[in-house]
């Protein structure tokens, strides 16, 4: 599939699913996958930086609650996403551009489905923006 110039970032835990770039080929975007030791280590700054570096959406993925390697790392990530959403809203971006996803550690299909859904949301936002212009 050809890429449509859109850039998305996936920030996720090293243990959350082993799906890799090839697995996401169905999604026609320029995808950047950044892995962290734990989703609890993903900082608000990482999310903001991804946006500044050109991503139109940031998908933060962590393990399903209760399955985190470090206990409650993915719950922390969820809270940080809230913090980041507040900041980008203040700046004038839609909060949906950063979103938390809990994904199954083994089922790659789940991860990919969620990524697809997120891509669609972001695409809609982009289309709306273009309409405005």
């Amino acid at each position: 599939m050809s890429k449509n110039g859109l850039k998305l970032a996936i920030l996720c835990c090293n243990y959350t699913n082993l799906s890799d770039r090839e697995d996401f080929l169905e999604i026609p975007v320029n995808l950047e996958i950044k892995r962290f030791p734990c989703s609890g280590k993903i900082e608000i700054t990482d999310m903001l930086r991804a946006l500044r570096e050109g991503a139109k959406g940031v998908m933060v993925a962590g393990c399903l609650p209760g399955t985190c390697h470090n206990g409650r790392g993915s719950e922390r990530a969820e809270k940080r996403v809230l913090g980041a959403q507040k900041i980008i809203e203040e700046i004038g971006l839609e909060s949906e551009r950063i979103k938390m996803f809990f994904v199954d550690r083994l089922d790659g299909g789940d991860f990919i489905e969620k990524a697809k859904a997120f891509y669609k949301d972001i695409l809609n936002l982009e289309l709306k923006e273009r309409e405005k212009k």
């Binding site: 900082e43 500044r52 700046i91």
Partner: protein, 226 residues
């Protein structure tokens, strides 16, 4: 500790609109503990400013630094190294830090990055509540350690008022009526009669009614304070 809260980013952006290089300056004192102005918040604020400006098509260079304290002149010394390098400073310290920078470095354009809100305690992660108002004349020896000046919406000294219901304050229903707690506490201690005395009107001068509050300890001053 002093509790502060991040100011709305659009206001900070408006203040530094015309600059191309600024310093976001944190403080490792109270504001770091209450997660408003420590290293992590400095990084977030700096990144947020960069992102916002690049979205506006006016990229900005943002330096980051965090001092041990901003309320002591000696800890502000390192600012000298930055002041010619940047056009403005966004300080995430409480109002004391911002004022001191403004006092000591009149040529530095310093802008507040947080709203300084109150003196409070950290009750749980992400939850701070006011406990003291710094009124300069402590009275909580008479109220079982609970302060009606800070914690009663009407600063009553002869409470509780008629709006106390189910132990809650009518002004802030999510907060306890502090006078209710004072009565209950003194009753449990068998000291209720202390509340039967009529409390004299408070002298508000130590609370700031007398102009700027200054404290001087001659036993500590050297060189006449210079």
């Amino acid at each position: 500790m002093i509790i502060a809260e991040r100011r709305p980013i659009p206001e900070i952006l408006a203040n530094i609109e015309n600059y191309e290089k600024v310093l976001v300056l944190g403080c490792r004192g109270c504001v770091a503990v209450c997660s408003a102005g420590g290293d992590r918040e400095v990084a977030i604020m700096a990144e947020a400013i960069r992102l916002a400006r690049s979205l506006q098509g006016k990229p900005i260079e943002v330096l980051e630094a965090t001092f041990i304290r901003q309320c002591d002149p000696e800890y502000l010394e390192p600012l000298k190294g930055f002041k010619d390098e940047v056009e403005a400073v966004v300080s995430l310290a409480c109002g004391v830090g911002v004022n001191l920078i403004a006092d000591l470095y009149p040529d530095v354009r310093v802008y507040p990055g947080v709203d300084t809100t109150f003196y409070g305690a950290n009750l749980a992660l992400g939850e701070w509540v006011e406990k003291c108002r710094g009124c300069g004349d402590c009275i909580i020896d008479k109220t079982g350690g609970l302060c009606p000046i800070a914690r009663c919406a009407k600063n009553l000294l002869n409470g509780p008022c008629g709006g106390s219901q189910e132990g809650r304050c009518e002004v802030r229903k999510d907060m306890p009526c502090i006078w209710h707690e004072i009565v209950e506490r003194l009753k449990a201690r068998g000291e209720l009669e202390r509340l039967m005395e009529i409390w004299e009107p408070k002298d508000w001068r130590p609370a700031g009614g007398d102009g700027l509050r200054v404290r001087i300890r001659e036993d500590l001053r050297l060189n006449g304070g210079k």
